[in-house]
């Protein structure tokens, strides 16, 4: 559906500097319809972009080992190249924030995937994932990263390709967190402006579309 597509596209494209300063209202204020401003934080101009980079940050949901594991894993899945990677984008902090607000089923599913990674690591290398040598981490991920032919991920904790399923759900979280960050937007070429009209569409000669 186009409407849904546009929404999804909008989540990654478009965008810029807020057009007005924050209105000084406390973030996270309880919204009673009879008393509150009846505006979302975004509509009030609240800018939460730097919240996760605050000094003294502590996880809301993860324990220290889970947090450290996620940092190591995210750095392997989206490493720094000529552009910053997932570690610099603090994807662990964003995932922690979202998970803390999600339902127990979603929390459990994420932790199960993370634990699966550690379990496989201990089975093969006798150590948790974050303590492995980089090349062993890479070898382990490689065995999980590609779907084995003839098997599919069903979301159930069974079946021959369960490892790939756990990998994919961790990767989706990490990629979602990375590409929705300011670093991620820039990775996709975003130049900081919100609008780039007009929409030119196709200007190729007939029968010469590429």
């Amino acid at each position: 559906m186009k409407r849904r597509e546009l929404l999804r596209a909008g989540a990654f494209a478009g965008a810029v500097v807020a057009l007005r300063p924050p209105m000084g209202q406390a973030q996270g204020q309880i919204q009673n319809p009879a008393q509150g401003s009846e505006l979302t934080p975004a509509q009030r101009g609240v800018d939460a972009a730097n919240d996760l980079a605050a000094p003294g940050w502590k996880p809301l949901f993860f324990d220290e080992h889970q947090n450290e594991t996620l940092i190591v894993l995210s750095d392997l899945i989206i490493p720094a190249t000529d552009t910053p990677g997932a570690k610099e984008a603090l994807v662990n902090r964003y995932i922690d924030l979202v998970l803390a607000a999600e339902k127990p089923e979603a929390q459990k599913a994420f932790l199960n995937s993370l634990s699966y990674l550690d379990g496989e690591s201990m089975r093969r290398y006798k150590a948790a994932f974050r303590y492995l040598k980089r090349e062993d981490q890479d070898d382990l991920l490689h065995t999980l990263a590609y779907a084995k032919a003839g098997s599919g991920w069903t979301g159930e904790a069974s079946g021959p390709d369960v490892g790939h399923g756990h990998f994919e759900s961790l990767k989706q979280r990490i990629a979602g967190a990375y590409y929705s960050s300011q670093i991620g937007e820039k990775e996709l070429g975003w130049d900081g402006a919100f609008a780039h009209g007009p929409y030119k569409g196709c200007d190729h000669a007939e029968g010469n579309h590429k």
């Binding site: 186009k2 409407r3 909008g10 478009g14 965008a15 934080p41 989206i78 569409g201």
Partner: protein, 565 residues
């Protein structure tokens, strides 16, 4: 906004017209009646809205949850099912805890709505299509249901009027199922869409056209052309898409004849039983819960199809024990919502452009008008009526790329050219799809709430099954690979095109309103929103709803001039 309106006690006078609801239809009713010199009270259940709360240019990384807030579900578990209910704007949508409704076991219905000045016109999908006599007189052609009592010729002048004011971008096609209109220049198609247009026409003879949308492609009526930032549903600082607060409601205010009463949760129509006429509307102040009555010589309900019907059902009197203007018993029945869930998507690997976060975002897609059961196609063996497709083809980032590390990071940027078509099918008008008052359930203002009972039937399922197959064959003809079919029937309400429940007709025994949206039973009560639809067709209905409102208003203005209200 409110500063533009009259400031005296709004309840001290008797208005010529009370309009309930300030959305796409209510805005038009207020504008037309007020500009004709009549005194109008416009009731809106929600608060006023300001351009200061628009967020269309705010990048998602500034949001606490980057537009993936799990918190919305606490107060808006139903509303979050709407594509447009986002971390940016969820306060525009109703709080589900305050606005309950019930459904029978096994018959889920998602009712997605806003209570704020402008209603859903703030976040609508903007697609704007005319109906034709193939829709309005469908019963005569295939024997199912009832014809509308009006024809295309009755509506055409009002389509013209509405389109010229609203500003509809589109391309004329001369298609028998989709009458052309008063178009602003069409938006451009992408390469993939042009390929689809040409190859589908060559292979199947079907029309693929650029979407017709209520978005300005040039400056128009004091509003600026679209700047292609993308997310219209967060508001538009240039007012380039049509929403009532900044167009029709603004005009109504400028006339000096319209009093806007916000935070007025309409409860019921008050009757002068001796005269068999409405004398006003009772509402509950949204914030204080004070019960108030506004008096008027006529009442126009534009509250949204099911809300208008709810008001009538809650207005029972001794004379009308089953709901006001319900001597037919049809009030509440024939609820419709387009069926969605059938279509296909795939990739166009031959396209070699690159994705870019800086690309202009076209707030519009492509459209395939109905090609089943048309005068030229003949009758289909498995279903009646038909469906249209919305879709598109564009380069996007390849977030689904496999692997990890540098390989993955590069593959995302290389992108993938995606192509898709999603069907919107006609929802047949059926007596057993209906709303009624749930006697055990009240909203936060003490007003009895609705019980909604609706399912899509076999014909709707057959439409979506066919839509999956025809979408796939059109993608294949375009050259798409990795094509996935979807033949689902999504739950009713998902199209957000609720229609019917106070249907139009000439027979007072079978319908609620006459061809000018006047209730058969009570001469000065009108239902001018989507409730009056006799059939749903498969086109997005808002444009037709607005044209029907304006036509009905012209008739009512005439009645006022003849002193016949």
């Amino acid at each position: 906004m409110s500063g533009l309106f009259r400031l005296e006690d709004p309840l001290a006078q008797t208005y010529d017209v009370i309009v309930v609801g300030s959305g796409a239809t209510g805005g038009w009713a207020a504008k037309q009646m007020a500009e004709a010199g009549l005194k109008v009270a416009l009731l809106e259940a929600g608060r006023a809205v300001s351009p200061k709360e628009f967020t269309e240019h705010m990048p998602s990384y500034k949001l606490k949850y980057r537009d993936h807030s799990p918190e919305i579900a606490r107060t808006r578990p139903v509303q979050k099912q709407c594509y447009a209910c986002m971390e940016y704007n969820y306060e525009w949508f109703v709080n589900d805890l305050e606005n309950p409704y019930s459904t029978p076991q096994g018959k889920p219905f998602t009712w997605q709505r806003l209570r704020i000045l402008g209603g859903r016109s703030l976040v609508w999908g903007r697609q704007s299509y005319r109906m034709s006599d193939n829709d309005l007189k469908a019963a005569s052609r295939d024997g199912y249901g009832d014809d509308w009592p009006i024809s295309y010729a009755d509506l055409a002048p009002y389509y013209d009027l509405v389109e010229k004011y609203v500003g509809i971008t589109g391309a004329a096609e001369g298609n028998e199922m989709l009458p052309d209109g008063q178009f602003l220049p069409p938006m451009k198609m992408s390469c993939g869409e042009i390929l689809m247009r040409d190859r589908v026409k060559a292979k199947f003879g079907r029309t693929v056209t650029i979407g017709r949308a209520a978005v300005l492609t040039q400056n128009h009526n004091g509003r600026l052309g679209c700047h292609y930032c993308g997310p219209c549903e967060r508001g538009c600082s240039t007012f380039s898409y049509f929403s009532s607060p900044f167009t029709t409601v603004k005009d109504a205010a400028a006339s000096g004849n319209c009093t806007l009463i916000t935070n007025a949760v309409a409860s019921h129509v008050d009757m002068d039983n001796a005269a068999n006429k409405a004398r006003g509307v009772t509402y509950v102040d949204r914030l204080t819960r004070q019960v108030k009555e506004v008096r008027g010589k006529s009442v126009i309900l534009c509250a949204q199809a099911m809300e208008s019907t709810r008001i009538l059902l809650n207005s029972s009197t001794r004379e009308y024990p089953n709901g006001l203007a319900n001597s037919s018993g049809a009030l509440g029945h024939y609820l419709m919502d387009h069926v969605v869930g059938g279509g296909a998507y795939g990739k166009l690997p031959d396209m070699k452009t690159t994705a870019s976060a800086n690309e202009p975002q076209r707030p519009n897609g492509i459209y395939v008008p109905r090609f089943r059961n048309t005068p030229t196609s003949g009758k289909h063996s498995r279903f009646i009526r038909g469906y249209g497709f919305q879709g598109g083809a564009e380069m996007d980032f390849n977030f689904g790329a496999e692997g990890y590390g540098t390989t993955f990071k590069n593959a995302v940027k290389e992108g993938v050219y995606q192509i898709s078509l999603g069907g919107f099918g006609e929802s047949l008008a059926r007596w057993d799809n209906y709303v009624e008052i749930d006697k055990d359930l009240k909203d936060a203002w003490g007003i009895p709430a609705l019980r909604i009972s609706m399912t899509h039937g076999d014909n709707e399922a057959a439409l979506m099954e066919d839509a999956a197959a025809t979408a796939a064959e059109m993608l294949e003809a375009t050259g798409a690979k990795d094509i996935h079919l979807q033949a689902n029937v999504e739950m009713p309400g998902m199209a957000i095109h609720e229609l019917g429940t106070a249907r139009m007709g000439t027979d007072p025994k079978k319908s609620v309103v006459n061809p000018f949206n006047q209730t058969h039973d009570v001469k000065n009560v009108f239902v001018m929103d989507g409730a009056s639809f006799v059939s749903s067709a498969c086109q997005n209905p808002t444009l037709s709803m607005m044209a029907i409102t304006v036509r009905a208003c012209a008739n009512l203005i005439d009645r006022f001039r003849k002193n016949d209200v």
